[in-house]
């Protein structure tokens, strides 16, 4: 399909920009492969969530303005992180531009929901011949409704799983607790270190118990936390953002920038 008439802004959250450039590259390449014309505004920094979730939403004015100035002109804004997207959708507010802020909020999408709901694509030719466990980030799931939540008595659906199930060779593992929080939680990961780590260890164990080789998800922040725990355990299990998996036939090896 040709979506080149759409102007799509790529929002790469700060920690992805700094620590996981390969996820940004995979997101960009994937969107382009799907026929999108993508721009990356160079003055973007952060959605403001680290301050706001710590109780300092009043210190996010500059981040809001930067975000607004970077992205207001696009038709859609897409980011490989459910949590940052949810924050923008719920809290973006620029002084004297209240109604324009609201319009921008509605144009921001997490990558999987953009592919599924806007591009309306449910199949991407990709190959990833491994056993994969899907970690559902809470903000993507319960906030953006990327999948049905186990607490509710409601019809099941699962957008990331739908895409992953069609990846060649990919075997999705069943988990005992399919939507339990990993314990990252922003500054929670250091202010409540003991509980955060225990939650992360328990998530990792669930995936390992079901013989996952990779843990994937649409939120790199959860994966950053889980990766830290896996590496400390010297576990062979790796984390991979869903964009990297879905992009895995464009280039078999995703180039990691010069280390």
């Amino acid at each position: 399909m040709d979506y080149s008439h759409l102007k799509i802004g790529l929002f790469i959250p700060c920690y992805v920009d700094q620590f996981y450039p390969q996820v940004g590259i995979a997101t960009l390449e994937l969107l382009e492969k799907l026929g999108c014309k993508v721009g990356f505004p160079l003055n973007q920094t952060c959605c403001g969530q680290p301050m706001a979730n710590s109780g300092f939403e009043h210190l996010t004015k500059d981040c809001n303005s930067l975000f607004y100035d970077s992205f207001a002109a696009f038709d859609y804004v897409v980011a490989p992180s459910g949590s940052c997207v949810l924050h923008i959708k719920e809290h973006l507010k620029v002084e004297n531009r209240e109604s324009d802020s609201k319009i921008l909020r509605k144009k921001v999408y997490e990558l999987v929901e953009f592919i599924t709901d806007v591009l309306k694509i449910d199949y991407i030719e990709a190959e990833f011949p491994h056993r994969v466990g899907l970690h559902q980030g809470c903000h993507g799931q319960r906030g953006l409704h990327l999948s049905q939540m186990s607490e509710l008595n409601a019809a099941p659906f699962n957008k990331p799983e739908t895409l992953l199930k069609k990846v060649n060779g990919l075997e999705l593992v069943e988990l005992d607790r399919k939507d339990e929080c990993c314990g990252f939680g922003g500054t929670f990961c250091v202010s409540e270190e003991a509980v955060s780590v225990k939650m992360g260890k328990d998530r990792v164990s669930d995936h390992i118990r079901h013989h996952a080789e990779y843990i994937t998800g649409s939120d790199m922040s959860c994966l950053l936390h889980l990766e830290g725990i896996l590496k400390r355990k010297n576990s062979p299990v790796q984390v991979k953002h869903i964009a990297e998996i879905l992009n895995s036939t464009v280039k078999k090896q995703i180039p990691v920038p010069n280390h």
Binding site: F19, L42, F56, G185, T187, S191, D202, L224, H259
Partner: protein
Amino acid sequence: MSKAVMEHADAADVFNKDESYVDWHDETLWFVRTKRDKSSKLLPEWENLRETASQIKNYVLSHMDELLETFEKNAKANGIHVHWAADAAEHNEIVLGILKQHHVDRMIKSKSMLTEECHMNEFLTRNGIEVIDTDLGERIVQLRNEPPSHIVLPAIHLKKKDIGDLFHEHLGTDAGATDPQYLTEAARQHLRDKFLTRKAALTGVNFAVAETGGFVVCTNEGNADMGAHLADVHIACMGFEKLVPLQAHLGVFLRLLARSATGQPVTTYSSHFKKPREGQEMHLVIVDNGRSAQLGRADFRNSLKCIRCGACMNTCPVYRRSGGHSYHNAVAGPIGSILAPNLDMTKNADLPFASTLCGSCSNVCPVKIDIHDQLYKWRQVLVQGGHVPQAKEIGVKAMSMVLSQPRFYQWSGRLGRSVMRTLPFMVNNSLNPWFKQREMPEPPKESFRDWYVRNRE
């Protein structure tokens, strides 16, 4: 009261010293959450029930004055003595006054989280009244001289062996006994004597019905009935938010309460009290204790919809891994964390931060309280009120400064990653709480932005 209160994170750190115990605690509560899931999914109308309950409670919160007056009028017409208490102290004085009036110095009590909130047992004990809790879990924690760790399952933090040791010490059971049947029977015999000999019984209230002036008490052990039916004086204590407008509304709430709490279709005993039996006196103490203030907070008022089912605790991944006592408040877990700051912002400033904001609590809540959104909002209020540590404020301000200026952000990122690569000990050390049990991410040479500029611009 003078005991120094440990903040949630510190108490959770202590709780996590024994990992196999944490695993057991987590699994035990997860089991209850699973039972709740199964039982709620047996009702096709479940989500409709939640929505209905939520709307009824919204009505209650916006007509509180009228409903309370109607309730009082009807309760009085039924022959119930109605008392109003502005705060915990007044509540405790009222209860003491009733007991003194009847020359009673020994009382039994079924489960009432309100009396925990008011620290009534300690107050009455200081005033020479012996209070025996008759709910088995409550009796267990009372014998241990500790508060309940859960509003529905007060002794859920204890294992069979702990109970065996406790009963051996206090009730004379065999040393080393852990058989639940045997231990429960011992508690039963111990409590039977109390039921038969006490002249006054205090119960909580689950629902007060404005239309009839009656109230409902839910238990699984029948201990509220045993106490109230045998005693000459029945004192029931309730926070004023326990109202429902109509008797028919119980058909919504009783179904939701038990399924949400334990996965049972209904509590074993749902006892309807309307008027004192002949020769008995029935008192009802209606308590504010901060509820009016909460009702006046637009962002937080709907926390008063809570029917105390405990589902948010069972589902909370933080509660399951930190235990009820880490919340240092009568009501623990997510709901406690949005109620407690209203009572004392300084003392409870840590609680809204004891959450990842995962949102599972709001999803299980039978009356649809937006718990995780309120946790976020309390954080803002607490910061604005100066209730968070200064070190945190300095850190967040620095972070905000970096993220507010693109060039400064890019420069700091490059510098930070280069330090991590060349001098890893600068971050991989004991001052970094992340590094204590996790590796730091591998710092790449190039940021995504750098790559983009090099390849695409």
